[in-house]
Amino acid sequence: MLCQICKKKEATIILYRTINGKKTEIHICEDCAALFTNKLSALALPQFNLNDLLIGLLSAIDFYGTEEDVFITKELKCHNCNLTYEEFRQSGKLGCSKCYNYFREKLKPLFLKLHGNDQHTGKIPHRKKGKLVQIKKVAQLKKELKEAVLKEEYEKAAKIRDRIIKHERATNQEDEL
């Protein structure tokens, strides 16, 4: 029988999974199985294509979801560009920057598989720099505030609170610009 993921190669491996006491099985080929274990079994140099890998991963991730998940996934769409998650799953391409917000929960496991991480740590555009610094500062101050309250240092806590308000105001003003 043909692999149920790529539908191209002969299935040689059967994966079992039990969801709510119900046993399901999927027949897949070695290459698709490799995606699960994060290993590439063959030297795929001439055919190697990141988009194909991505679409394979998307199928693999969905297979591991519960049936309820599958139902929710069918309904999921981006309210900005109207791209459905199903369309994304087939093409591997998102429709607009807001898709990242609407599909975030579904994309997270994909990022972890692809990149081993889901938090950007690289370059920041100059336009966003100010705002990001403010956000980080506020997070830090909130931590300090908590500590001050725990230690019952109320005078210090009040000063920190004022600084938080000031920083948050600055961030909001930037947003309005």
């Binding site: 990141l50 791209l83 990149h115 889901d118 938090q119 690289g122 555009p125 956000i135």
Partner: protein
């Protein structure tokens, strides 16, 4: 900016891109280094989902930026819809645009590039903006400095699609985060000869890098040339990605050089014979496919890299590798030709270029 299609194409036929000069660091193994950044404009749908109007506006926004900023003064612009399929293919073979850009025919595609061909910008590729920089030898750090500056200049006039969680937002999640793909083109004939590539490729894949052929994604490995690039774009900084790619490449370079040394000590005559035979064939061929030519050029190249063949320079070989490609040949000879005629023209060209006299 120069808008004249005919003169731009004419110049490209004769031009020698900086990355082909064969003078960069470690150029006895490293042909070239490349970085590309994927960027999108905020509030415009990604290319594959954008309508005509949106694609037109992304084109106009970038065009205006390039036109008004003096650092882009010497740039040429080509509109892909105004080019024949052969001309687009030629630009791809010159490494100015990607094969995706040739294949996916979105409206308002354009490319802009400088005279040295160290910088090119594609508009309405898979992402609105793809900035690419190329140079010879292993020079990723220098390239990053340049491309990051270009990125900053563009950003001065527009807002990129970016959020603090996922970084630069791209059409495909394989590029999100830094939006950066860094790659290094290595010439690894000794590792291939000694059947070491399979094991090395496996190790490269395992640690999150990908290997591609001469013309990037989906292209075949020809002439023992391998392009190694990062797969991970999210969770590491650009500098970290570059540093680790350099480290990886240096390890592979050491292995290649060790194999070369071993082969040399086993029999220098055999090695020289191999290079000179390739020279003999290339100097005399009458009909040759691009595949065979690339293989022979690789053998000759190794001889040049080991300083066995006088009067042939790496830059000649690099430029020839481009000129013998199907579209380049046809554009250069100003006529379309079927395969056999291309093979004849290719042989004529190679004979005229490969000579130690």
């Amino acid at each position: 900016m120069n808008y004249n299609k005919e003169t731009t194409l004419q110049n490209l036929i004769k031009s020698k891109a900086t990355w082909t000069n064969g003078q960069g660091p470690l150029s006895d193994v490293v042909v070239s280094s490349r970085i590309r950044l994927a960027r999108n404009i905020d509030n415009i749908s990604f290319t594959s989902r954008a309508d005509q109007k949106e694609l037109e506006s992304s084109f106009k926004i970038i065009q205006k930026i390039i036109n008004e900023n003096s650092i882009f003064n010497d740039f040429n612009i080509l509109l892909l819809d105004k080019l024949s399929p052969l001309e687009s293919q030629f630009l791809m073979e010159k490494n100015i645009i990607s094969s995706y850009f040739v294949k996916e025919k979105y409206p308002f595609r354009s490319c802009m590039f400088n005279k040295e061909e160290t910088l090119s910008i594609m508009v309405n590729e898979e992402d609105h903006i793809r900035i690419q920089s190329l140079d010879s030898g292993l020079q990723l750090k220098k390239i990053w400095k340049l491309i990051s500056r270009v990125d900053d200049e563009i950003e001065k006039k527009l807002t990129y699609a970016f959020n603090e969680q996922e970084g630069y937002l791209t059409s495909c999640p394989t590029n999100v985060g830094t939006g950066m793909r860094a790659s290094v083109m290595l010439h690894l004939p000794a590792l291939v000869m000694e059947n070491r590539m399979k094991e090395i490729l496996k190790a490269i894949y395992k640690i999150g890098y990908v290997v591609r052929g001469f013309y990037g994604e989906g292209s075949k490995a020809m002439g023992n040339l391998f392009q190694i690039s990062n797969q991970i774009t999210l969770g590491l900084s650009e500098e970290e990605i570059i540093e680790s790619l350099i480290r990886l490449c240096k390890k592979i370079i050491v292995q290649e050089k060790n194999e070369r040394k071993k082969l040399l000590s086993d029999g220098k005559d055999k090695f020289e014979d191999r290079a000179w035979r390739a020279y003999g064939l290339l100097h005399n061929v009458r009909i040759i496919s691009s595949m065979e030519a690339m293989e022979l050029l690789s053998k000759l190249r190794l001889g040049v890299e080991l300083e066995m063949i006088p009067n042939i320079k790496l830059n000649q070989l690099n430029q020839l590798m481009l000129m013998i490609q199907p579209a380049y040949l046809q554009i250069m000879y100003k006529e379309t030709a079927d395969q056999i005629n291309r093979d004849i023209k290719r042989a004529t060209l190679i004979r005229s270029k490969i000579s130690i006299e």
